[in-house]
Symmetry: none
Subunit: 207 residues, 4 copies
Amino acid sequence: MAPRIVDKRAKRRLIQKAALKVFARTGLSGFKMIDVALAAGVGKGTLYEYFPSKDDLVVGCFEEFMIEFGEHAAAAVGALTDPTEQIRRLIGASFEFCLADRALIDTLFDFYAAGIPRRDGHSLLSQLAPMYRRMIAQVAGIVDAGIARKQFRVTDSRAAASMILAVVDGVMFQIALQTVKADAGLQAEQISDMVLNGLVIANNETT
Amino acid sequence: MAPRIVDKRAKRRLIQKAALKVFARTGLSGFKMIDVALAAGVGKGTLYEYFPSKDDLVVGCFEEFMIEFGEHAAAAVGALTDPTEQIRRLIGASFEFCLADRALIDTLFDFYAAGIPRRDGHSLLSQLAPMYRRMIAQVAGIVDAGIARKQFRVTDSRAAASMILAVVDGVMFQIALQTVKADAGLQAEQISDMVLNGLVIANNETT
Amino acid sequence: MAPRIVDKRAKRRLIQKAALKVFARTGLSGFKMIDVALAAGVGKGTLYEYFPSKDDLVVGCFEEFMIEFGEHAAAAVGALTDPTEQIRRLIGASFEFCLADRALIDTLFDFYAAGIPRRDGHSLLSQLAPMYRRMIAQVAGIVDAGIARKQFRVTDSRAAASMILAVVDGVMFQIALQTVKADAGLQAEQISDMVLNGLVIANNETT
Amino acid sequence: MAPRIVDKRAKRRLIQKAALKVFARTGLSGFKMIDVALAAGVGKGTLYEYFPSKDDLVVGCFEEFMIEFGEHAAAAVGALTDPTEQIRRLIGASFEFCLADRALIDTLFDFYAAGIPRRDGHSLLSQLAPMYRRMIAQVAGIVDAGIARKQFRVTDSRAAASMILAVVDGVMFQIALQTVKADAGLQAEQISDMVLNGLVIANNETT
DNA sequence: GATGAATGAGGTTTCATTCAT
DNA sequence: AATGAATGAAACCTCATTCAT
């Protein structure tokens, strides 16, 4: 009575993983559905069963990426209460997440490029900008908390948040470009220092 | 019977300008040669006269971008001798250049994505990484000069250079995403402050 | 452990009914097996249990259509002995049958188109032409009887039969096209009059 | 300066002719674009240059069919003033037109089936019904003229027109089915007689 | 008996590139 | 030198059919 029983969720994940590998190899533009099907070990038809179009596959992979990144970041920062530590961990977690699977960082900027709003109104990853705005707001919240605790200088917290994310993205890009070392710990350390040394009230400074 | 005299260089530039507009509208992936031909007001055949292939067109536009950016940056920094000022101007000039023509910033990350080395060895803009390395070296040179003059803390100058470029790129991305204001002066100011406040020796500090 | 007892005949009919609805909605070309399965409330596998292929389903529906039409026509004409009445009833019965289920008339011309012999020798409904020939023969028989009884003019009875069926089909088509009213009684009346007034010996005429 | 010069109109016609041949061979459903391209002696790309989609090709061929039929019918009836003659010629011209090119009559009922309004609102040849209504109106006009001249019985002229077209279509169908002879003269004669004998006032009849 | 997940052959469509004019 | 009509390789996607459960 019941047909073949499959864990559709798991198979979807499997395909997404395979897709990310293909994206990393060939770039978001120019990847072929058949390659993803082969990489996932399924037929073309099956691929379309799970993702009704090429765009849906890309969007689906990006959403999965967003969700997993969000969970990872939340888990990393979650228990912490100290703003300084929160920022340090957020930066660290970002690098850990993107470097854990080399395929990710090679594709990150494909996602970024695909998420930029186009003049013609259509952007493949229309959720990127809203998501980014949420991230800025979140980090700005941490900065505000730091200011309230008098750990951070009084600053435009949104601008500070924006710049913190900017350095992370920028360094991520250079890792992809292979102009800096792909060392999560090192990069996080250097960035945190730069960001926080320009932010934290030095002991010998007066408000 | 004298052959029509055409300024090939000028027409090439014309086509490149048109191409950049098309890139901004449709993204690097997904743009069509016919669209560029139409935007440039020339026939498809003529387009191929100037750029023998689609890839050549993309690469040509990117190289033009690099050259112009380089000239712009050199002109901005050229006369200056103070490292602090040099860095300020470099950041400022970057934003001025990219914001002067809105099409540019919408395409910047398409270029970036297209320049990331792929697993399969092939990258459309293979010159991006080397160029980026030269930029890092250049900025590192300025930082070293600042250290020598005892204006900057003793730091890993390559890492510092890398992070300076990182913030610029990262903020550029957010401008494209429309999550921060596209205000060259403001962004340059904020970034310079953050970068330099974490770099410059505070008056009350001792070496 | 006794196998579920199913009335296969009834389920077959159920599927055919559902199929006719789908045909009417999407046309014979372009209908999908899955749509029929859904409309019939069975799985795709089950559908194939009853109709081993798409063509079989179409042919099966058409044969069912033919059989039911034949029974309906026979029942209508059966008891009558007067040729004039037989023709009137035949025409009337045709419209009643096709208009009873709106899905039928919308599909009739799909069946007709699918039954036309193709240059390549293959025709999906290869039984349509033979069946049509039998119908012509039958009507010609009625006409001959009318001639024998001196109710009809001496005519080429095959040609007359052919034209009687032609008007019926033609008006059926216009009902489907919605250029004439879908009123079985009215259409049958008008057609019968035209056909018979051109056939029946007028009272004041001499043989 | 000027590229290859082509008579686009003529090439369009060429492709349409080829398409009609293919339609006749394989039916409207199930014909393949590549077959039309091969039959027309052009590449697949060229075919799409002239007809942007498969549907456009079908619609384009049908429209051409409508236009040519209209011209042919107008030319045939044009000079005549006598309603009886007009109807005779209209019927005659219809058969001449459809039998002149055997491909046409094999495809006529594919067009008819494709023009029937579907439950889902979409009909491939949405112009068929309006066109058919215009034809009915035209013929009704002739019938009215005949009534005014007291050549025809006082009748519902629209109903009469509808039935005249119905017989023509019906017989056309039987020609395609090969159940009656494909003889334009014969069919037109028989139909005209039946139609007019049921319409014309017999000499010995009184109004 | 019933089901629907899986499949891939096959069709439609796009678009970079060529080349006759 | 300039053009755009022609082309076909290559990609996307559909859907009839199968078969493990």
